[in-house]
């Protein structure tokens, strides 16, 4: 077993198990911490793909910023207590879970049946994963417009957060 495969398997198991923990743990804080672990393992997986910059910002944005916010809110609302049960046991939930499982099986089967490894650009991967390549692409004519527009998403979020939560807004 090659080193690549070893790493992949370890990280993949980590990612899948932590994802399962997110949906199975009763305590919201535990779920949140599992999610952090999941983000970290995804960052590891990005490294196995040689997408170094992606791995870095995965840690910064997800594990850093977003999870901070989530945990903040959980604390804020004093939701540290546990739910009665982690997963609802009802016919509807069973249908939903069943349907999702079948969907997942279909997806995996469909995506792997006809796939051949895409190797066209894999030699490029080392270069493309580097921060400089991302910079070059991001500031090219093509992507600069979506990049500028995405700032509106952030502003809208800021305005929305203020308007929805700030007390005594004028």
């Amino acid at each position: 077993m090659s080193l690549d495969l070893t790493f992949f398997i370890i990280l993949a198991i980590m990612a899948a198990v932590s994802a399962l923990m997110v949906i199975l743990r009763k305590n919201p804080i535990t779920s949140a911490m599992s999610l952090v672990l999941h983000f970290v393992s995804l960052a590891g997986l990005y490294l196995t793909l040689h997408a170094q910059f992606m791995a870095v910002i995965q840690m910064l944005v997800y594990a850093g910023a977003i999870m901070v916010l989530v945990v903040f809110v959980i604390m804020l609302l004093n939701l540290g207590r546990e739910e009665k049960m982690a997963v609802r046991q009802s016919a509807r939930a069973a249908i939903g879970i069943g349907a999702s499982m079948v969907l997942g099986a279909l997806l995996i089967w469909g995506l792997t049946q006809v796939m051949r490894p895409v190797a066209a650009g894999s030699s490029q991967a080392m270069v493309n994963g580097q921060i400089a390549s991302v910079g070059k692409a991001l500031f090219s004519t093509a992507y600069v417009f979506p990049f500028e527009m995405v700032s509106l998403v952030l502003l809208a979020a800021a305005v929305g957060a203020v308007v929805l939560t700030k007390r005594n807004l004028k």
Partner: protein
């Protein structure tokens, strides 16, 4: 990047910059509501002018390395978004002040969402489409919850947010799979490379997921369930805006990737057509039939908007040029009649959620004859009675279906529009032919609300009289 690129994106840039200016105005100026209102209208008119300029000087050109496309249909989309924005601005202050949601941030969010929509309408690549969609959606989540002290508004925002983010996940997955199969996010790559892709399954699952994601945004069955609740709980002006401009934006995104897919000739195209046709059938029937059982006018209109998404999807399923122009025409027509209907609902609504049930509309013709008359016109148009705009919209869409050998789909469309007669004209009958239950308070409209109503009436009639002009612009 060149000057041409900047000029091509000018409409979006103007609206975005005005959004920033309004944000600053809101932050720095005391009592800035009127100023924000004026700035919004100026910005939207500017956007319209820039879009018209682009349509005249560079129709059909692409800019930013094929990221966005200019002129033709995208100009009509711009007109829909800006038009809806202007009417919403005219209606908003009076209504929001009454129901307790008057924050100047409303104008910032409105302008930002319009910028997002315009980006969607112009996009020739799934990347800007996604960004535009998210700008729009995030603004909508907040706008739906704008009456932050009302539980119904909070609930609407929460439901919209959770389901919307969930659907975004599917859209994104679809984009990723299509990207993997054709090697690019550009729509032109779908048309050029999809036929030769080694991974047709990947491609079709991707397209299917994108249909699901955008099907949610247009509120198509079975992804429609958010719409009645959100449209009901959100402030009425926001509902009117979301259900017209929001739907139009989602359809502009839809047409963007479905059109090249239909043109690509990839094996399996028939399956995609079947799916779109079934979504259309489900939306039309479920929307119209459920609307029958509603007692709340806002909810009734919400369900009927699901049905209208179904009519529009007929155009997608047809997958021909007549379908695309039909969708565009219908969206223009729908803008006026639907936003007008919600304007009337908003004018009548009271701060505690009163005057919203069908019973409150009894005998409206005697108490508010003007409002009853315009509401009836909108109802007639929504039903699809000639010569109002709604009739021609349906006509073009059904015609497109027939051209695509989908006569059965057109027939289902006609049948479901017959069902819609019951509740649309039922409301007219109630307004005109029923005794009122008690005294009605409210219903006085300010000058700006009247202007908005007049605009929608003129639009509904004019679009019906000059359908060809709209079709000509769309076909360019």
């Amino acid at each position: 990047m060149t000057q041409t690129d900047l000029l091509a994106g000018l409409a979006i840039e103007i609206v975005s910059i005005f959004a920033l200016i309004i944000m600053l105005t809101d932050a720095l100026v005391e009592r800035s509501t009127r100023l924000c209102e004026t700035l919004s209208i100026v910005g939207l008119l500017g956007g319209l002018a820039a879009s018209a300029y682009a349509h005249l000087t560079m129709p059909g050109q692409t800019a930013f390395n094929g990221m966005i496309v200019v002129g033709g249909m995208s100009t009509l989309y711009d007109a829909i978004f800006c038009g809806a924005g202007i009417m919403t601005v005219l209606l908003a202050r009076e209504y929001l002040t009454r129901v307790g949601g008057m924050f100047d941030e409303f104008y910032t969010l409105l302008m930002m969402s319009i910028a997002g929509m315009m980006l969607m309408g112009h996009s020739a690549d799934s990347m800007p489409m996604f960004v535009g969609l998210e700008v729009m959606s995030i603004c909508f989540y907040v706008m739906a919850g704008l009456m932050r002290n009302k539980l119904s508004s909070n609930e609407a925002a929460l439901k919209y947010f959770l389901l919307g983010a969930f659907a975004s996940g599917f859209l994104l997955y679809g984009i990723a799979l299509v990207y993997g199969s054709v090697g690019s996010t550009a729509y032109s790559a779908i048309a050029a490379k999809a036929l030769s892709t080694q991974f047709p399954t990947l491609f079709w699952v991707g397209i299917g997921m994108m249909i699901i994601g955008l099907g949610f945004k247009v509120a198509a069955f079975p992804f429609h369930q958010w719409a009645p609740d959100v449209y009901h709980g959100a402030p009425t002006v926001v509902t009117g805006f979301m259900s017209t401009a929001g739907k139009a934006a989602a359809f502009s995104g839809f047409v963007g990737f479905i059109a090249p897919t239909m043109a690509s000739g990839v094996p399996g195209l028939e399956k995609a057509k079947v799916i779109l046709a079934l979504l259309a059938v489900g939306s039309m029937l479920v929307g119209n039939i459920t609307a029958l059982a509603q007692t709340n006018v806002k909810r009734m209109l919400a369900y009927s908007s699901v049905a209208h998404a179904g009519y529009l999807m007929i155009g997608l399923a047809a997958g021909n040029a007549a379908g695309w122009t039909g969708i565009t025409y219908y969206l223009v027509a729908y803008l006026f009649m639907q936003i007008g209907a919600f304007a009337v609902v908003g004018i009548l609504e009271r701060e505690n959620g009163g005057n919203l049930t069908v019973d409150d509309y009894r005998g409206l013709a005697r108490r508010r004859p003007g409002l009853a008359l315009v509401m009836s016109l909108f109802m007639f148009s929504l039903t699809g009675i000639p010569p109002f705009a709604g009739f021609f919209g349906k006509y073009y869409l059904f015609n497109a279906a027939i051209q695509a050998d989908l006569t059965w789909l057109a027939i289902v469309g006609v049948v479901s529009s017959v069902i819609s007669v019951w509740f649309y004209l039922g409301l007219v009958v109630i307004m005109y032919f029923r005794e009122p239950l008690g005294e009605m308070e409210g219903g006085e409209a300010s000058i700006s609300s009247r202007t908005a109503l007049a605009l929608s009436i003129i639009g509904t009639l004019l679009i019906g009289l000059i359908p060809q002009a709209i079709i000509n612009i769309a076909a360019r």
